[in-house]
C-alpha cells in the first residue's frame, strides 16, 4: 500500500521535473573558430561563413542565424549562394559539393537542409588532380554550375540534379586551338584559377588559368572567343560592371586591365603594381566596382611589398587617388562588397566592404569619406585578448544598464554611424524580458561587458585596468599613430590582439554588485581593484594597500612573478567604472577567489596562501588569515613549478594536433621532398603517440593527506548574514573554503552606518571545519530556515527579493569537489549529504544556485544546485534535500578548457567556451530558453526583397510579422487564444517592449514581480496594462507570458 503510493508520488515528481528541466544547447555567441569560407547573397542580404569543422552559418539581420552542419568532418572551402533564392552550394576540402536549401520547419522557422551532394569523377585512371575542384561558378540562369579544376578543365553540371554535361566540358585542348603558337608552346595552361560570368551577357564566361592565360568562352558557340595572353601567374579576374573591361591580378602583386572588344587577342590597357617597385606578394583576389561618379573602386587582397610588409594581412581599397591598405591582425580569408546599385543599374555603388579575417569580421563603410569601420552587432571576436574568466549577472536594474550603455557609447566614437549592412531575414524570437550582463575578463587586463539577454551577444562597454599600473606599454602609444605620407598607407583595423603586454595584468576574478554598481576585479599578480561607476571622467590617484598574506613568516620565499607597480600620481579615468582602492596581496600570487559585500562595504580575496578581508569604506585591512601548510613547498614557490607540467602536456597535445593535421591536409603538395618530409614527420608523431598509449596508464590510489600540495589554496569565499556563533543572534560572517577541505568562518562586526567611518570593522574566527575527505571546497552557501539561499547584499533592502527567514534554523551548504553537505547552524553538525564522487566517480567543477521556474505552472519554482562535473555533465541537485534531479551530458570530458570556462546564470542557463572565440549557450531550464528563431522569406518572384524594409536610423529593426509568430508561440504551449494576432502585431509588440524596457518604474515593478515567484500569478498578467493601444493587448500578453508564463 505504502509502496504503491510512493510510486504515484514518483510519477508526479517526474512530471514536475519535466516542467522544470530541459536541456538545450541554443546558440553560439562570438566568432566561429577557424573560418574558411565566405559568401554573400545581395538578393537575400545574407552572408554565410563556413569553418574548418564542416559547419557553416548564415547571418542576416541581428539575431538571424541559421546553422548547417555537414556530415563530413571536412573544412568548408567555398560557399556560393545559387541565384535561385534560398539555395547554397558548398565545397568541402574532400572535393565534394553539397547543395543546401533554406526551408521552413514545422513551426515556421527557417532551417538549412542538405538536399544532395556530388563528387566530381573523372575518367578511370586519371590523376585525382584532374577533378580537384578549384573554382565554382553557379550560372545566373540557375541551371548549371561550372566547376574549374586543378587539371585545367571546366566541367559543367546540371543543378539541382548534379548531372554532368560532358559535351559542354571546356577542355584545355579546345582552349588552345586559337592561341598563338609562340604562347602555346611555352607550357600547359595550369589549373583553373578563375571563372566569371559576364554581368551583361550570361552566355560569356571568363576562364582564367594559373599560368596566366585568360579566355572568354562563349557558351552558345561552345568555343573561346577572346584570348588574353597574360605573362604572369594568374590569381584572379573580375569583370567591370558594363562588361567592357576585365581586370586580372597576378602572383607578382600586379594587376592588368584588359579591354573586351572585337579584338580577339587584346593587349592590356594598363598594368600596375600598386605597392611596387620592389617585389610584391601575390594578389589572390581583386574586384572592380563602378560608381556613379565614374571613379571606380578597386579592392584587392594582399600585394604588399614582400620584404618589408610581406607578413601583413591587408585588403587595399583604391578609389581615384585615395588608397588605404586595411591592415588586419590575422590572416584574411575573403572579402565582399555590399552595393546599393540594383541588378539593372549601370554602377555598383559600393556601400560597405566586409572582410573576413581568421579571427574577426570587419565591415568598412565606403560611403563615408574617411572609410570608418561599422560596428558589428554579432560575430564579435570575444577573444580579442584571451578570455581568462567570466562572470554572469542576471536581471540588471535599468539604471545600471543605462549607465553602462552610456559609458560604452562614449568609447565607440570612431565607428561609422551607418547601420549594419547585412539585414536579411528577421527574428521572431521574443524580446528578452530581463537584462543580463556577461562580464569577461581578459589576459590584457580588460573586462568586457556584454549584453547576454538575447541571441546576439552585444558588446556594451570595455573597461581597462591597465592604466592603474606602470607598464612597458605606456610609451609605445605613439608608434601606432602612422604619419600621413607613409607608404604603404596602412591602417590598422579590427580589435583582435592576442598579444598581452604583461601577463600579470590578466583578470582572474570579477564580482559586480548590480544594486550598488560596485565592481571588484582581481588579477594574476595578486591585485584587487575596487571600482565604482561614475558617469564623469576623473583624474584621481588610486591608493594602494599592501596585504601580507603570509603574515611575516619569513621562512617562505616567493619565487613567482613580482607585483605590478601602481601609478603614484593622478591617473585619468574615463566615464565608467573607476578604481578607487587597490589591494595588493603579498606574495603576489594569482587571486583565486573574490567576494564583495556592498552593504557592509567589504571585499574579500583569496590566493594560494590565504585570504584577507578589506574594508573599502575606511580603506583598511580588517583581517588576514594564512592558510598555508608549512610543508607545502609548491604553493610557496609560485607558479613556476606548475609550468613544467603544463609545458609537457602542451607539447603532447601539439603533437597530437600535428598528427591529425598531417593526415587531413587540404590540397596535398604533389611530388617533391616536402611532402615526403611531412609524411615522415607525421609517421614519427604517430609512433610517438602509439608509444605513449602503449605505456600502461596507471593511477595511484591514495587517501588525501594534510601534506598534499596546495591545500591552503583558497577556493571559495562567501559573505552571509547568519547565525555563526549564536542561535538567537545573527551577524555578518565570512566563510572561506580551501583546496584541502577546510572551511573557516569568521564573525564580522560591522559598525552601524552612523559610526561606519570611525569604528573599525573587526573579524573573529568563529568556526573551523575540516572535511574528513579533504576534497577542495568549491562552494559555500547558506540557506535560510525555508531552505532558500540567502539573498545577495542589498537585494532584500531594495525590496527585490523576499527577505530571508531569520528565525528558522539556517543551514550551511558546503560543496566540495566530491560531496555536498548540509550542516546545521550555529552548531555545526551534518544534516544531509550527497557523496557524488563515491557514487559516480565524477567531481564537481562548477556549482551555482539557480531558480527553476515551471514551464507549465506560473507560480511554481524550485531552487536547485546547478552543477558541472569534470565529466562535462550538468546536474541539478535539489535543495535542501540534496537529491539528484537530472543529469545531461553537456561538454565533452576531454574539453578541459570548456569545462573550466563554464558559467551559470541564476535562471538555469549557462555559457562555456567551445573555442577560444565562441561561447556556447545552454539551458537546463525548460522555461528560460534563449535561442535564435528566425525567418527568411524566400518568394518565388523577387518582389519582396527584405532589404527594402531597411530602416535607415539606428535602433531595432522592425519586421512585418507573418504567421510564424503565432506558430512559435504555439510551440511553447502558450495561450493560443491570446496569440491570434492580426498582421502587424509583432511589430507593435517589439515597439512596446522597447518602451517598457526604457520605462524605469514599470520595469522595476515587473522585475519585482518575477522575483516574487510565490505571489499570485493573476497579478502578473497586469503586464498588459503597459500598452496603451488596446488592439495590441493580445500580442503583448503572449510575450509577457513567454517571460513569466501565464497559465
Amino acid at each position: 500500500m505504502k509502496r504503491f503510493r510512493r510510486h504515484g508520488n514518483e510519477l508526479h515528481r517526474e512530471r514536475i521535473k519535466q516542467d522544470l528541466f530541459q536541456f538545450n544547447k541554443t546558440v553560439e555567441h562570438g566568432f566561429p573558430h577557424q573560418p574558411s569560407a565566405l559568401a554573400y547573397s545581395p538578393v537575400l542580404q545574407l552572408m554565410a561563413i563556413g569553418s574548418r569543422s564542416g559547419a557553416f552559418k548564415i547571418y542576416g539581420a541581428p539575431e538571424v542565424e541559421i546553422m548547417g552542419l555537414h556530415e563530413e568532418n571536412a573544412a568548408v572551402t567555398q560557399i556560393h549562394f545559387l541565384p535561385e533564392q534560398g539555395q547554397l552550394v558548398t565545397l568541402l576540402d574532400d572535393n565534394s559539393l553539397h547543395l543546401w536549401k533554406l526551408k521552413k520547419s514545422l513551426d515556421g522557422l527557417s532551417i538549412l537542409k542538405e538536399e544532395s551532394h556530388f563528387d566530381l569523377r573523372g575518367q578511370p585512371g586519371a590523376p585525382p588532380s584532374v577533378t580537384t575542384i578549384t573554382v565554382v561558378l553557379p550560372h545566373s540562369s540557375g541551371d548549371v554550375i561550372f566547376l574549374g579544376t586543378e587539371g585545367g578543365c571546366v566541367f559543367v553540371v546540371e543543378q539541382p540534379s548534379f548531372r554532368e554535361q560532358e559535351e559542354r566540358t571546356i577542355t584545355q585542348e579546345a582552349v588552345l586551338q586559337n592561341v598563338p603558337d609562340d604562347y602555346r608552346s611555352r607550357r600547359s595552361l595550369g589549373s583553373v584559377e578563375a571563372l566569371q560570368e559576364n554581368p551583361r551577357n550570361p552566355h560569356q564566361i571568363l576562364v582564367g588559368y594559373s599560368r596566366g592565360l585568360v579566355i572568354l568562352w562563349d557558351l552558345q558557340a561552345n568555343q573561346a572567343t577572346h584570348h588574353f595572353l597574360g605573362d604572369q601567374q594568374l590569381e584572379s579576374v573580375a569583370w567591370q560592371r558594363d562588361g567592357r573591361q576585365i581586370i586580372s591580378s597576378h602572383s607578382d602583386g600586379s594587376f592588368y586591365q584588359w579591354p573586351v572588344s572585337n579584338d580577339r587577342l587584346p593587349q592590356p590597357l594598363e598594368k600596375s603594381v600598386p605597392y611596387g617597385p620592389y617585389p610584391c606578394k601575390a594578389i589572390p583576389k581583386i574586384i572592380w566596382l563602378a560608381t556613379k561618379q565614374r571613379t571606380p573602386f578597386i579592392i584587392f587582397k594582399g600585394g604588399m611589398p614582400r620584404a618589408s610588409y610581406g607578413d601583413r594581412h591587408c585588403v587595399s581599397v583604391l578609389h581615384g587617388s585615395k588608397q588605404i591598405a586595411f591592415d588586419f591582425t590575422s590572416r584574411v580569408i575573403d572579402f565582399f562588397v555590399v552595393d546599393e546599385g540594383g541588378s539593372e543599374s549601370d554602377c555598383d555603388d559600393p556601400s560597405a566592404l566586409l572582410v573576413l579575417a581568421e579571427e574577426e569580421l570587419v565591415a568598412i563603410d565606403l560611403k563615408t569619406p574617411s572609410w570608418p569601420v561599422i560596428q558589428s552587432p554579432y560575430l564579435i571576436p570575444l577573444h580579442c585578448s584571451a578570455i581568462t574568466c567570466s562572470h554572469h549577472v542576471s536581471n540588471i536594474p535599468i539604471k545600471l544598464w543605462e549607465r553602462i550603455i552610456a559609458a560604452g557609447s562614449k568609447q565607440i566614437t570612431h565607428y561609422s554611424s551607418k547601420p549594419w549592412p547585412i539585414d536579411g531575414g528577421y527574428s521572431t524570437a521574443p524580446e528578452p524580458l530581463q537584462r543580463d550582463l556577461l562580464l569577461t575578463g581578459h589576459e590584457d587586463g580588460t573586462i568586457r561587458f556584454w549584453d547576454a539577454s538575447g541571441v546576439c551577444l552585444k558588446p556594451l562597454y570595455k573597461l581597462s585596468t591597465v592604466n592603474v599600473f606602470v607598464t612597458d606599454a605606456d610609451h609605445n602609444d605613439n608608434l601606432n599613430q602612422s604619419s600621413e605620407d607613409e607608404w604603404p598607407p596602412l591602417r590598422k583595423v579590427g580589435c583582435f590582439d592576442p598579444y598581452s603586454d604583461d601577463p600579470r595584468l590578466g583578470i582572474q576574478k570579477i564580482h559586480l554588485c548590480k544594486y550598488s554598481s560596485y565592481l571588484a576585479v582581481a588579477g594574476t599578480a595578486g591585485q584587487v581593484l575596487v571600482m565604482e561607476l561614475n558617469d564623469e571622467a576623473v583624474d584621481q590617484a588610486v591608493p594602494c594597500t599592501l596585504v601580507d598574506i603570509l603574515q611575516d613568516q619569513d621562512t617562505f620565499k616567493w619565487k613567482g612573478h613580482e607585483r605590478l607597480n601602481p601609478h603614484e600620481d593622478l591617473v585619468h579615468f574615463p566615464a565608467g567604472f573607476q578604481p578607487f582602492a587597490l589591494v595588493q596581496c603579498q606574495p603576489p600570487a594569482v587571486v583565486t577567489s573574490l567576494a564583495l559585500h556592498s552593504e557592509w562595504k567589504l571585499v574579500t580575496f583569496g590566493t594560494s596562501h590565504g585570504f584577507g578581508l578589506y574594508d573599502y569604506q575606511q580603506k583598511r585591512t580588517v583581517m588576514v588569515r594564512c592558510t598555508l601548510h608549512p610543508s607545502d613547498q609548491l604553493a610557496l614557490e609560485g607558479p613556476l613549478s606548475r609550468v613544467k607540467s603544463i609545458k609537457k602536456s602542451l607539447r603532447q597535445s601539439f603533437r597530437r594536433i600535428r598528427g591529425t593535421r598531417a593526415s587531413g591536409r587540404k590540397r596535398p603538395v604533389h611530388g617533391d621532398g616536402a611532402a615526403k618530409v611531412q609524411e615522415a614527420n607525421a609517421r614519427m608523431d604517430r609512433e610517438a603517440l602509439n608509444e605513449m598509449e602503449l605505456a600502461p596508464v596507471q593511477r595511484r590510489i591514495e587517501a588525501r593527506s594534510a601534506d598534499d600540495s596546495f591545500t591552503g589554496f583558497v577556493r571559495s569565499l562567501y559573505f552571509a548574514d547568519s547565525f555563526v556563533r549564536d542561535g538567537s543572534y545573527h551577524e555578518p560572517s565570512l566563510w572561506a573554503g580551501t583546496n584541502g577541505g577546510t572551511v573557516f568562518a569568521y564573525a564580522i562586526h560591522v559598525p552601524p552606518v552612523e559610526r561606519r567611518m570611525e569604528e573599525p570593522v573587526t573579524a573573529a574566527q568563529a568556526k573551523e571545519i575540516q572535511l574528513m575527505h579533504r576534497a577542495p571546497v568549491v562552494g559555500i552557501f547558506i540557506l535560510d530556515g525555508r531552505g532558500v539561499l540567502l539573498p545577495e547584499p542589498l537585494e532584500a533592502a531594495h525590496d527585490l527579493s523576499k527577505s530571508p527567514d531569520m528565525h528558522g534554523n539556517h543551514m550551511l551548504l558546503v560543496v566540495s569537489e566530491e560531496q555536498f553537505k548540509i550542516f546545521t547552524l550555529p552548531k555545526v553538525s551534518t544534516k544531509t549529504k550527497l557523496k557524488l564522487t563515491a557514487l559516480e566517480g565524477s567531481r564537481v567543477r562548477k556549482v551555482s544556485v539557480a531558480n527553476f521556474n515551471s514551464s507549465r505552472a506560473d507560480d511554481y519554482s524550485e531552487n536547485g544546485l546547478l552543477v558541472l562535473t569534470n565529466l562535462g555533465d550538468v546536474q541539478v541537485i535539489s535543495l535542501p534535500t540534496l537529491r539528484n534531479q537530472v543529469r545531461y551530458e553537456c561538454i565533452r570530458k576531454e574539453d578541459v578548457s570548456g569545462i573550466a570556462s563554464c558559467v551559470f546564470t541564476k535562471s538555469g542557463q549557462g555559457f562555456y567556451l567551445i573555442s577560444p572565440s565562441e561561447f556556447e549557450r545552454f539551458s537546463v531550464s525548460s522555461k528560460w530558453v534563449v535561442e535564435p528563431r528566425c525567418v527568411i522569406d524566400i518568394d518565388e518572384g523577387l518582389g519582396t526583397r527584405t532589404s527594402q524594409q531597411r530602416i535607415p536610423q539606428d535602433g531595432p529593426v522592425t519586421k512585418p510579422n507573418s504567421g510564424e509568430m503565432v506558430q512559435s508561440q504555439q510551440k511553447y504551449g502558450l495561450n493560443r487564444q491570446a496569440s491570434i494576432g492580426s498582421e502587424g502585431d509583432g511589430k507593435k509588440t517589439v515597439e512596446i517592449m522597447e518602451h517598457a524596457l526604457l520605462n524605469d518604474e514599470r520595469v522595476l515593478l515587473e522585475i519585482q514581480s518575477t522575483l516574487e515567484s510565490e505571489s499570485a500569478s493573476a497579478d502578473r498578467l497586469s503586464f498588459g496594462h503597459l500598452n496603451r493601444n488596446s488592439k495590441n493587448v493580445a500580442g503583448v500578453q503572449s510575450q509577457g507570458q513567454r517571460m513569466m508564463n501565464g497559465d
Binding site: 601548510h629 608549512p630 600502461p696 596508464v697 596507471q698 593511477r699 595511484r700 590510489i701 591514495e702 587517501a703 588525501r704 593527506s705 594534510a706 591545500t711 556563533r725 584541502g740 577546510t742 573573529a764 574566527q765 568563529a766 568556526k767 573551523e768 571545519i769 575540516q770 572535511l771 574528513m772 575527505h773 576534497a775 566530491e818 560531496q819 552548531k827 555545526v828 553538525s829 551534518t830 544534516k831 544531509t832 549529504k833 550527497l834 557523496k835 564522487t837 563515491a838 557514487l839 559516480e840 566517480g841 565524477s842 567531481r843 569534470n870 565529466l871 537529491r883
Partner: protein, 382 residues
C-alpha cells in the same frame, strides 16, 4: 526521525557523570561506578579491578566491550580513557587470566557474533592451543577483511580496507585493461579496471588480499563497468577511508570455499598456499557495521574559537587519530569525542536515508549485510 531519536538518546547518556561498570571474571560479576570526567589512571583502575574481584595475586588482562560490540583491551591510560568515554551508559569489563587469554577474541564483532565471549565452555580447548606471543595491538581496529562471502560468487572477493587510524598508505595502483565476460552472444572482450601495482609496505600489500592483475569489479558497492580509469580512481580516493573493493582475483586457487558447498564442490584448495589461506580466513568477517563506515566521515569541527592560536593549525590538519592522541588535555578531548559521537549518530541516519534513494538492485549489490541494517530497523525496513 532516526536522527532526532538517536541524538537525544546519546545526549542523555552523556549527561550522566557516573559511569556504571560491570566487571566479569569467570562467572563472577562485580558492579561499581566511576566518575566520567575524572576516571583516574589505568594503574589505579587495574588495582581496583584486582581488588574488587579479590584476585590481587593474579596477572590478568582487562578487556571491555565497545559500542560496536568489539572486545577491546584496556592496558594503558589512553584506551582506558577511551573506554570510559565511550561507555554508554554501561561499561562492560571482562577480566581474564593472562595465561588463558584467547587473543583471537579481540577485534571486530567478537562480542556480537558469540554471545558468550569468554567462559568455561571453550576454556579446555583454548588451553591446548599453541599460544603465539603476539602483543596486543595498541590500535584495536582491524585493517582489512573479506566480507560478504555468503552473497558473492566464489570467484569474487570483496575486500575491505580500513584506512582510518592506520599510518600506512593504501598503496596500490590501478590501470585499464580488457577482461572476458560471458554474455548472451558468447564470450566478449570488455574493458575493465585492474590492479597494476602494489606499493611495498602499503596497506593493500600487507593484507595479502589484493594482488596485481586482480580485476576490480565494484568500489563500495558500485559497479565500475562503463566507468573510466579516472572515474574509478576518484571513486576509490573518495572512499579511501573505508574502501570496499570487489575483485576477481587473478589467482582463483585461493578462493574461500563456503562451508555449505564444501561437500559438493570439487575445487578444494589444498596447495602450497595454505598458510596464506589461513591467514586470510582470520580476517574473514561476514558482517560489518554501517556505523563504522560513518566513523571517518566525522569532520572535525571547532566551534567558537575566538582565540584561533590555541589550536595550532598543524595539529588540526594532521589526521584525526594522531590529533586525538596528541592532545593531552582530557577535557578537551572528551568534548571532542562528544561532537564526534554525535555526528556518528547523525551520519548513520543519513546513510540509511541515502540508501533508500538507491534503487533496489543497487541496494543488493551494496555491501551492506542484513545485520547491519537491522540495527537501525526501527527506521527503515528494506
Amino acid at each position: 526521525m532516526s536522527k532526532s531519536y538517536s541524538k537525544s538518546g546519546s545526549l542523555r547518556g552523556f549527561e550522566r557523570v557516573a559511569v556504571e561498570v560491570k566487571s566479569k571474571f569467570g562467572a563472577e560479576f562485580r558492579r561499581f561506578s566511576l566518575c566520567r570526567y575524572k576516571p583516574g589512571k589505568f594503574d589505579e583502575f587495574y588495582n581496583l579491578i584486582l581488588h574488587t574481584h579479590n584476585i590481587s595475586n593474579m596477572d590478568v588482562l582487562i578487556g571491555y566491550a565497545d559500542v560496536h560490540g568489539d572486545l577491546l583491551p584496556i592496558n594503558n591510560n589512553d584506551n582506558f580513557c577511551k573506554a570510559i568515554s565511550m561507555a554508554n551508559p554501561l561499561l562492560r569489563i571482562f577480566v581474564q587470566r593472562k595465561e588463558e587469554v584467547d587473543y583471537d577474541l579481540f577485534g571486530t564483532d567478537s562480542l556480537t557474533r558469540k554471545k558468550k565471549p569468554l567462559g568455561g565452555l571453550r576454556t579446555d580447548t583454548l588451553r591446548k592451543r599453541v599460544h603465539l606471543t603476539i602483543s596486543i595491538p595498541q590500535d584495536f581496529r582491524p585493517v582489512s577483511s573479506i566480507i560478504d562471502v555468503d552473497i558473492l560468487p566464489e570467484t569474487h572477493r570483496r575486500v575491505r580496507l580500513y584506512k582510518h587510524g592506520c599510518e600506512k598508505p593504501l598503496g596500490f595502483y590501478i590501470r585499464d585493461g580488457t577482461s572476458v565476460r560471458v554474455t548472451a552472444h558468447g564470450l566478449e572482450k570488455v574493458p575493465g579496471i585492474f590492479i597494476s601495482r602494489l606499493v611495498p609496505g602499503g596497506l593493500a600489500e600487507s593484507t595479502g588480499l589484493l594482488a596485481v592483475n586482480d580485476e576490480v569489479l565494484e568500489v563500495n558497492g558500485i559497479e565500475v563497468m562503463g566507468k573510466t580509469l579516472d572515474q574509478v580512481t576518484d571513486m576509490m580516493i573518495a572512499n579511501s577511508h573505508n574502501l570496499i573493493i570487489t575483485v576477481k582475483p587473478v589467482n582463483q586457487r585461493n578462493n574461500v570455499i563456503r562451508s555449505s558447498r564444501m561437500s559438493g564442490s570439487s575445487g578444494h584448495s589444498n596447495d602450497s598456499t595454505t598458510s596464506h589461506h589461513s591467514l586470510s580466513s582470520t580476517h574473514m568477517m561476514q558482517n560489518y557495521n554501517p556505523e563504522d563506515e560513518s566513523d571517518e566521515e566525522a569532520d572535525i569541527i571547532i566551534e567558537g574559537t575566538d582565540d584561533p592560536q590555541s589550536i595550532p593549525f598543524k595539529l588540526l590538519s594532521s589526521s584525526f587519530t594522531t590529533s586525538r592522541t596528541n592532545i593531552g588535555n582530557l577535557s578537551q578531548r572528551l568534548q571532542k569525542e562528544l561532537a564526534f559521537n554525535d555526528s556518528i549518530r547523525e551520519n548513520k541516519g543519513n546513510i540509511l536515508k541515502t540508501l533508500t534513494a538507491i534503487k533496489a538492485e543497487a541496494r543488493h549489490s551494496l555491501a551492506l549485510s542484513r545485520g547491519g541494517i537491522e540495527e537501525d530497523g526501527t527506521v527503515i525496513t528494506l
